[in-house]
Subunit: 433 residues, 2 copies
């Protein structure tokens, strides 16, 4: 799975330090001496999955409230819970649990937006997971920042502290056009540009969003409004993009912007279905994201991948059934690997190739649901896009470091993290009576 989509039945991958140094058919492998060997017989070795939009600490709110319209869910349950409970410690501990779930499911890189982002980053560092991490800045007081200017300050401190870190890439995050004013958006975007950092923002998630953007002119879409104020450039990663118009898609393509597609969350919160085939046709880089665990409710990128592969085919009640071709399995797999890397503005991950960072996973292909395997070139993509499960991931390597071996986590203690999470729920939301 390099840029040419090469497959080596019986191949090798050599890792030196943080990077892949060589790969190819087994016959070309270097002599075994002096190397630590991981036998991957009967397995699929592939790039690690890249989660392009998430809020990791929200795993602590998994199952707090479900089956509600977005507004009621957010303002009646999530915002109050965040107001009552968020702290650096909460975000650190919750991120450790989320990181365990990510590694167990084959994710090797996340793009996170949340509060107390420094605590998220330090948890990812412990876990060994690669992360783009940003402080979510919003136009009203939050537990981490009384004003958006304080949020900007936190973002700049995050940048200073983590810039150059081998795993953590600081980003600038504005929550959304409907919760942020022009000055906030422009200040954050300018900072991102100055530092060559990604700018991560929720974009057109719901049908109601345009009417909620108080600073828009006329009936501008959120995308058009962002364009007018000068922040629709190559730094921008827009999450969701469910209701983008044709013109919006063209604006994003010309701006060099990318979209993080979160199909499960968009379904669960009744937001809709993003026009992914249209985005791809226009040349907009698209990657997959799980969103937070309160609106998914898991962080399995394989499940996200299945949903992303299936939805564009059948969701539009296409009478002729021609949309069966709308999202080939290989393209869907790329949305979680090579295309995801491009959506996060990264050329150093998402593929297995010499010189790329060694972020890869080993899938045990012996599961009953992966049998049999046909010999045509698309067979492996078919299994990955439609049938593989988070639990099939056997080993995980990030930045050349083994994070999981034989499904045993080496950097984290999941039992302790689960107990910590449960103790927090028992304390904060005790059983009635």
């Amino acid at each position: 799975m390099d840029s040419a989509g090469s497959q080596y039945p019986g191949g090798f991958v050599a890792i030196e330090g943080e990077r892949i140094s060589a790969l190819g058919p087994a016959a070309e492998a270097p002599p075994a001496q002096g190397w630590e060997l991981i036998d991957c017989s009967g397995c699929i070795v592939m790039p690690g999955l890249i989660n392009c939009h998430t809020h990791l600490p929200m795993v602590y709110f998994r199952g707090l409230a479900d089956d509600l319209p977005l507004h009621e869910w957010l303002t009646g349950h999530i915002f109050p819970a965040e107001g009552a409970h968020l702290s650096p410690q909460f975000c650190h501990e919750a991120t450790l649990l989320a990181a365990a779930e990510c590694i167990l499911g084959g994710t090797t890189c996340v793009n996170d937006m949340y509060l107390f982002a420094d605590s998220v980053a330090s948890a990812l560092e412990i876990a060994g997971l690669r992360g783009l991490v940003g402080e979510g800045v919003i136009g009203f007081p939050t537990p981490s920042a009384p004003t958006w200017q304080d949020g900007l300050k936190l973002s700049q401190e995050l940048l200073r502290k983590w810039q150059g870190h081998p795993l953590i890439t600081p980003t600038f995050c504005a929550h959304a056009p409907y919760t942020c004013g022009v000055e906030l958006l422009q200040s954050l975007y300018t900072a991102a540009q100055q530092h060559g950092a990604p700018f991560h923002i929720h974009l057109h998630e719901t049908h109601a969003e345009p009417g909620m953007v108080q600073w828009r002119e006329g009936d501008e879409t959120p995308t058009a409004a962002l364009k007018r104020i000068g922040i629709l450039g190559a730094e921008l990663i827009g999450a969701h993009g469910v209701w983008l118009s044709e013109r919006d898609i063209s604006l994003l393509a010309h701006g060099g912007c990318s979209i993080a597609h979160c199909p499960c969350s968009n379904l669960k919160l009744a937001s809709g279905i993003a026009p992914v085939p249209q985005l791809l046709a226009a040349g907009v880089p698209v990657g997959l994201g799980t969103d937070g665990a309160a609106s998914n409710n898991n962080l399995s990128m394989f499940e996200e991948l299945h949903t992303a592969a299936l939805l564009p085919k059948g969701a539009h009640r296409d009478p002729a059934g021609l949309s069966a071709t709308a999202m080939p399995a290989r393209t869907a797999v790329e949305l979680a690997t090579s295309r995801a890397a491009r959506a996060l503005k990264r050329s150093d991950i998402g593929q297995l190739a010499p010189g790329k960072l060694a972020d890869l996973i080993v899938l045990d292909a012996s599961a009953a649901h992966l049998a049999p395997r046909y010999h045509h070139e698309g067979a492996v993509y078919s299994h990955l896009a439609y049938s593989a499960q988070a639990g099939d991931v056997r080993d995980s390597i990030v930045n050349g470091r083994v994070l999981m071996r034989g499904r045993r986590l080496l950097s984290l203690d999941p039992a302790a993290l689960r107990a910590q999470a449960q103790a927090w729920v028992d304390r904060s939301y005790p059983p009635a009576g």
Copy 2:
């Protein structure tokens, strides 16, 4: 999870012979002496999942061809493969592999329609899985029956051989209104009625189907046409029902018919999305099915459950987002358990209650993706509908017999079955060159 939806945090289930004899809070458990104990601490004990529509032997065609419109997929790939390869041995061996996948994923009962159904039944008997099994009868020659009359004869032999079997329930299966004539349909339906057996048929899977029903009158829908020829009664289990009209739904409700909803397959083959909330509102029993593995591509009922829970919320681009309430987690779980049983005309499975058959699964709830757990009544349904994975199933019991313990299959050897499947592919579709 009895009919009242009772939950016992720290409870017991007692099984005597084939049936559940008692259950309740731990304090009411009988003394341990004389019982074989299975410790389920930290687990969720729940009814086994019921797959209401599948073609188990098609696991051997998993990944043969994907991403094609239904007609091209079926006539260009699946029908030729079936014509070239189907035999009693093929169907028996493939069903054993499929049964392994089912048990590993928490399925305890399947409703199967395929050719050489006697071989399917004998494989399920070996696996220990409960099955409604029928010979697919169709209006043209098949590998198992040169004429539909031969197919009817096979159905009747199946009935004679398996009637009264503790695990296998013979059914009568007509492929679909567009592939079966009136005489075929009426003959099979009459036989089903005579023997009190279920009648299983594909129904209105695609938009094009009405025009393909050569014997319809005027612009009748397939459902209305079936009603006219007298076979829309309580025996009928219709698979898919994607394009049902309001009037169709009303006809099904009045007939006492049920629908097997296969959301993943309907998406993959670009068929569309079935109107499940409308069916439920009309009182039509609905259960979930995976369809065959060539159009899914796995048999995970947990994945089907997630998709069924998510789709009705977001797929219709509901501007107000109110459809977030369209499929509560508990209803979705019931579509795979109690409602599925009702859809299969069974009152003896699908719930945990004294007197019901002992078909149940034990879920290891210690996975990172199931943490934390809130204490409100809906929390367990939320985890099951949105986050649990096939791999979380630890133990499986069908008809009082333990089929899996600690994820080890006791009735089947999955490694041997996988090797057998791969050997078949290597022989039948060898690598090019």
